[in-house]
Amino acid sequence: MTPRKAEPSAESGGDPAGEPRVELAGIVKRFGDVVANDAADLRLATGEIHALVGENGAGKSTLMSVLYGLIAPDEGEIRVAGKPVRFRSPVEAVEAGMGMVHQAFRLFPSMTVAENVVYRAETRGTAGLLDRRAAVRAVQDLSERYGLRVDPRARIRNLSVGVLQRVEILKALHRDAQVLILDEPTAVLTPQETRLLFDVLRGLRDSGRTVVIVTHKLGEVLELSDNVTVLRDGRTVARLVTAETTGAEIARHMTGRAVDLDGHYVPGTPAAAVLTVEGLTVGPPTGRPVVDDVSLTVRAGEIVGIAGVAGNGQLELLEAIAGLRPSRSGSVRVGGTGLHGFSAGRRREAGIAYIPEDRAATGSAVAASVADNLAVGFHRRSPLRRGWRLDRSAVRDHARRIIEHFDIKVSTPAVAAGTLSGGNLQKLVVGREMAHDAPVLLVDQPTRGVDIGAIENIHGRLRAYRDAGHAVLLASAELSELMALADRVLVMFGGRVVADLDRADATEENVGLAMAGIPASTGAPGTGS
């Protein structure tokens, strides 16, 4: 299989004018009783950036999987350049000019960029030997043409997420993808990397390709796309021209109701310091620490945000404070109490509650019932504990209270937590931890992968928790989340706190630069405010 040469010209698709390059019409897909797509339509034109938006469970991923040949639809038709087609596998979809960049990259870590790009589309030399030089040249050509800066000889395992994404795009371009689908492409990028990506995508559009971004970030939709298709409950509910619409209108189509988009920031009223961390260092006994000499203070009635690209020590910092990970040195105090040597359980008694990043692996026991999950942490003391046994009816009452108060959608507390949707499972974890009413709440990525409705709900709860006089330490990779909640923003990079910004200084530019490891004072003068 030799790669076809990429066509740079806008006419490459050869579509008759007015006819969409790719059309998905009346797609229906059921998984058991669940209808993932219910007459979903999508029309993609040559040379456009098309945003496919919708809440979680709206059927975006299913629809894209249909287009990419991963899922066969139960009903409906795919037309490419007007002709009905049927993709039995991604390979057939690729041959028809589709390309997909998944959220979780599919790369070979020990191989080079060039090797990854040409895998199964190699140029062969004599006797079927792999022509690595041709592979390097192919990558250089493509990366020059589309501004995808990457070293073809670099090993994948040494590259940053932003570069890995470029490699995935190169893979698709090497196979001459005319329609490039990107699933939540900015979820793991810094603002700077996002901007770079957008430039690349615009370049691809201008060369006549079709770019589809699947997202629920409205800011990106408005900034980047030409057209928008909105899915709700598996149906296409709106097709909009981006220039003629607003974020509020798109959100209304997504949720079917009016939404408070900005979740506008309301300042808190900080009082005395509650959580004090000094010189905390976490990591293996030798080698580079993952959390490096971090000091911070969170006051009562204050939300302190921690910004940073995932993997810069935020998770480890919060785990160390919560007592789930040993620290090498440094101290953690709650109120006046030093927590040195305290187990996670004793730290909870001292007043720490923790909403972990991963609600399914750490935050809950997915095989256990909702009631049991809500009881955890309360089970050692009355009223749930009665002497040496658990009071089952008290456990149920306790669960019902939290379910009602936090509006968790569940048929009965007896069902397994794993059957809940992502947003509801998150509400379960948030609800349980807030029910402790602990003076310190540690929160890690509270709204990752949950939809707009649940985000609104959880943000409101966090503000209310703060306003009840608690200290909240919030780590989030979403700048918009920090902007909506945080009274102060710390930025972590390489395990260190590299910036401590007051609300007023925490502009997207400042935070973004710090996230990329560039000190605000020296980076990009003249930009920002």
Binding site: P284, V309, E357, G422
Partner: protein, 313 residues
Amino acid sequence: MNVLTELVDLSLIPSILRALTPVLLAALGGAICAKAGVFNVGLEGFMLVGAFAAVAGSWFTGSAWVGVLAAVLAGAGMAALLAIASVKYGGDEIIVGIALNLLAVGLTAFLLRTVFGRQGTFTEPTLQGLPTIAGQTPLTYLAWLLVPVLAVFLRRHVWGFRLQGVGEAPEAARSLGVDTVKYRYGAVLASGVLCGLAGAQLSLGNVVLFSQNMTAGRGWVAVVAVLLAQAAPFGVLLAALLFATAEALGFRLQGVGLPSQLASATPYVLTLIALIVASVRARRVLGRAPGEVPSEDRPPVENPAASTHVSRE
């Protein structure tokens, strides 16, 4: 000094080479599997069945080469069981491999009694062994030749390149349309063929007889060689050479009065030491990894919460 000259002289080389061939052939088979992402611990059993089939084939046809062919087919047959059970039906390859090793011991002992009516050992003066060229069987030359061939195949050939991708990130290979099952079948069958050759070398080359459990752990030594060399062909050669030298020296030590039990334990003691060294090294590499690669440069850890929501959509 006297003992040393008695132990080490030029005549040691042929005995090292003889001891090397079976281990090297089996280990190369194991290396192919490892590259394809299959940890094959069935080498011992494949080899034992191959050794038996070689003797049976040679005895009933009077041709050692038919014996080699029979060994290859028998090794491939055993490998096919592993491939079907673990590659196709997703059984645990370690458990299946161990089961096949146990099967091989029982099966060959059983066949030894039913086919040859013997217990323990079968040999006859008329049983044809492999011819030798300059004191070594053709299989020895083949084994050495396979080392560079395999190295080039894995590093330079398109199929070898794809095979390594299959082993490293099967999901990624599949997403690009590579049939990972086919590649793994091929790798496992190739290891069966090579183990069959290894068995034939044991029973028609090094000696001309079959005795119960005559592989005596050489397949496990091959597994260790694969681990030590991280499946690189030339590394496998070095590791196998180490064990072969130990085995040959062990024989010599018996000659100078070391108790035979101790002497024949030498290669296995060496194996144990090598394993410990390898695991310590592996742990050190793992422990250092976060320090070497800055955390921000690591590929993203897949976010299970996000991926469950994707699959649910």
